[in-house]
Symmetry: C2
Subunit: 230 residues, 2 copies
DNA sequence: GCCATTAAATCAAACGCTTGTTTAAATCTT
DNA sequence: AAGATTTAAACAAGCGTTTGATTTAATGGC
């Protein structure tokens, strides 16, 4: 009569708990491609090779599994924004950097974000889910957004504001940095369209380099900067 | 036993067919905010104030209603891309325009797109649905994409390629135009985030003007152009 | 002008099926 | 032996769709 209540995700798990891990791994790509309502618990269970009841048992229900899979997904996003934030903090440690330093910094940011997003090391369903939550947030998403996405936005805005000599909180700085973010993220958001248009199959190697160089050139020009080297 | 088969959308509708119109109007916002699987037929019917059976009767099923509502939605998108394509065609009638002409043309394009997307005349669920289909296309969407979105992309690419003196089919032109499209569309895609960040409630009047001017400045600089006037 | 005729549209109710969840027995692990 | 885990089966509720009767609106013969 009383429900078995083991679903404490943080608690030390006494056994190997095979099913839990298998579900967590199988769920994310399915949710990513068809959304929460587009996937049934039976499909999730079958894809993970476990019994349907395992979902309620380990996660308290379908919604709990979604939340948990969203958390592991956001963890995978850490290498995208983390280094960028660190780089910006470092550069601004001794006051706002000058023009050439800003240019070099922004070039590194563009390269790092596009590399981590496009080079294939990050599973495609990660960006897929983040973009979905971006425009149609579930309530679970908000804290992750505040923790992961917003600091990245703020970091980029600092650089843009410095380059354009604007106050970081001014409307123009907010809008300009949003435009810059759009310039970069569009390649992740429309990944398959770009690949189709160029008749490419992926962004590896030389092709990624072309994307990065083109994006760098446009981003830097848009905020009145150029790379001084050569 | 044989099904009544009146669901011919194009055929002249003999009667007023109240329910059909009411469903079509109620469905789009619901589908937009929660997706095809997120809305039930009973909810659709109740929201439209009609009987559940009306959906199967008039559209052949829930999927048919979705397709139909996607069509009226794409029709609402016509004023966004249509004039842009016309403007570009006009400007390129006598060969590629020179620098200043390109700058003026691109400035007009940015102004037109941002105005139609943000000034509130277009219901918010229109862009919402388009962006959703963009990254998670249903099969109904593809022909509409080819008809509406692709020509707009091509038109913008022509201008970008002309400004950067690249062949319109070259990878760099494709990528650069995609970055420009990202600069513009990011304001529609992250509409609520930008509003929240600026503590605005909408993009009307003076505020829209700031957005347009900022976007124009960044887009033009990114493709090596400036407005000659003043 | 009026009333039977006919087809379209609407309706409440039920259809078969899938959904997410729960149960209680069986199986593992220590 | 005892608790954690897995299992097949069943659960109620909701799903999209269909049914057959009823209402509505235009038509044609008189």
């Amino acid at each position: 009569m009383t429900a078995i209540v083991p679903f404490n995700p943080a608690a030390a798990r006494p056994r190997s708990s095979d099913a839990r891990e298998r579900l967590l791994q199988a769920a994310a790509p399915l949710f990513a491609s068809r959304g929460f309502n587009g996937v049934s618990v039976r499909e999730l269970a079958e894809s993970a090779g476990v019994n349907v009841a395992a979902i309620s048992y380990h996660f308290g229900g379908k919604a709990g599994l979604y939340t948990a899979s969203l958390e592991v997904l956001m963890e995978k996003m850490r290498p995208v924004g983390g280094p960028v934030i660190a780089m910006v903090d470092q550069a601004f440690k001794a006051g706002a950097p000058d023009g050439p330093a800003c240019a070099a910094l922004m070039a590194s940011i563009v390269r790092h974000i596009l590399t981590t997003l496009l080079d294939g090391s990050l599973p495609p369903w990660v960006t897929q889910t983040v973009l979905r939550e971006f425009q149609e947030p579930t309530e679970d998403y908000r804290p992750m957004f505040d923790e992961r996405v917003l600091p990245l936005q703020r970091a980029i805005r600092k650089v843009v504001a410095a380059a354009l000599e604007l106050a970081p909180e001014s409307p123009r700085a907010v809008l300009a940095s949003q435009a810059v973010i759009g310039q970069i993220m569009v390649f992740a958001a429309t990944r398959h369209l770009v690949l189709e248009e160029l008749q490419w199959t992926n962004f590896s190697g030389e092709r990624l380099e072309i994307v990065i160089e083109t994006a760098q050139a446009l981003v830097l020009r848009s905020i009145c900067l150029t790379l001084s080297e050569q």
